[in-house]
């Protein structure tokens, strides 16, 4: 009799612990996703800035020294923000895509510096497409 009563009785402490743990886990996941989207928006902002400046340089609308400094700042911001992304396997693909964005920016800048504008233009098209794809897949489009 006694054992039956005990078995039927709810276990408040373990339930509370479990629900608290579940709540915290869900909250941390949501927080991680929010943080990821916010960082992705910032990364895409700097990528778009680099693209704007490189396109302007391609049209000889801005001087080389300004382009170099501004692109250097964009790349630094992208790397800094990427390092703040959650280091879990869930976001590994996004991190790989960000590295690709950074390489494309560096490649376009390098090609412009060497005077190979055709190649630079192709890199910039690829950069734009990659950014659009990353914006869509990461949910950073709003």
């Amino acid at each position: 009799m006694v054992s039956t009563r005990i078995a039927k009785r709810p276990l408040p402490s373990s339930k509370k612990v479990l629900s608290t743990f579940l709540f915290l886990w869900l909250a941390s996941c949501a927080n991680q996703d929010d943080q990821f989207q916010k960082r992705m928006q910032e990364i895409l902002l700097w990528s778009a800035t680099a693209e704007m400046i490189l396109n302007a340089r391609l049209g000889a609308l801005v001087p080389k020294s300004f382009t170099d400094l501004a692109v250097e700042r964009c790349q630094k911001q992208i790397v800094d923000l990427a390092s703040q992304l959650p280091q879990t396997s869930k976001y590994a693909e996004a991190r790989a895509n960000i590295v690709r964005l950074d390489r494309l920016i560096a490649a376009a800048d390098d090609e412009i510096g060497r005077g190979r504008f055709e190649q630079a233009h192709l890199h910039l098209i690829e950069l734009h497409q990659s950014a659009v794809e990353l914006r869509r897949t990461s949910g950073a489009d709003g």
Binding site: E42, L45, M52, I53, L61, S65, F66, A70, R135
Partner: protein
Amino acid sequence: MRKLLQISLGIITSVGGFVETGQIATSSQAGAAYGFSLLWAVVVGTVCLIFLIEMSGRFAIASHHTVANGVRERFGSNYFILTLLIISIVNLLVLASEIGGRCAGIAIRERCKFSVVGLAGCFHGVASALERYFRHHRERCRYFGVGGALFVVGALVMDPPWAEVVKGFVPTLPHKDPLHYGFIAISILGAIISPFLFLFYSSGAIEEKWDGSFFTANRVIATIGMTFGAVISIAILVLAAIVYPPLGINDIEGYDQIAPILTPALGKWGFYLFAASLGITCFGAALEASLAQAYMVAQGFGWNWSEDAKPRPIRPSLSPIPVSSASQSCRSQLDSIHFN
């Protein structure tokens, strides 16, 4: 004829103080993030500023005293010192941002790192503000606002969707991030309503010896001058709304991003003209903020102040003055000053 000339100069001076680094930054941020929907904030800020400027001018004409004099006389020395402290902090922040803006202008134009020109820019700004002959600079800073007219040309060349622009003058709720929207709206108001503008204006009215015949001229200068300034701010916001969102840039975090704002409209020249107008407008605003601060201190303590007054030679003193007796002396000096 003299009055017409003074009205014209007053309008240009007003524009010179209105357009500065804070204006350029906040208008660009608003345009990039929310398109034309924050244009109403510029209008609200401008209307408030027109009233403040007009009232300070009217006060100066009617009482033959500046705003600083009036505050001290009406509310006493304690209240004046508190006001002076608060306005000094605000002016210091404004001055720092203007020097920063001027440095950014030089850095963009001279093609070197911001940090390299930072120190030089600071020295240049401070030295300029402390120039012995204020008159020389005051005359020059009248014309600095004209640099902002480039933004209006740029906005017209870009041919914005006018129906959307007109809708932006009606306050609406944002489609995203209301907190950020509110922050930008308040930033726009803060950038427009700077205390140095009306302090400088009332000092100007006294220096130019405005009398009762200048009441109408005062209204005209306050209204047209600030409206011209607002048109430049609106042009920057419109340009940002046209240029940035299609490129995926919906936030502005530095002058690197703002620098090419005129290139779609004006091509290669747009970049250099932006750098020049940023430097020029910030220099003009830095001078006005410095002069307004110096004037306010001098007016409040009853010292001689004027762009025409020659500075008294400084006699070095070796005996240190105790802080308490210096403070007591200031207080008694303030209390003894009254309107004539």
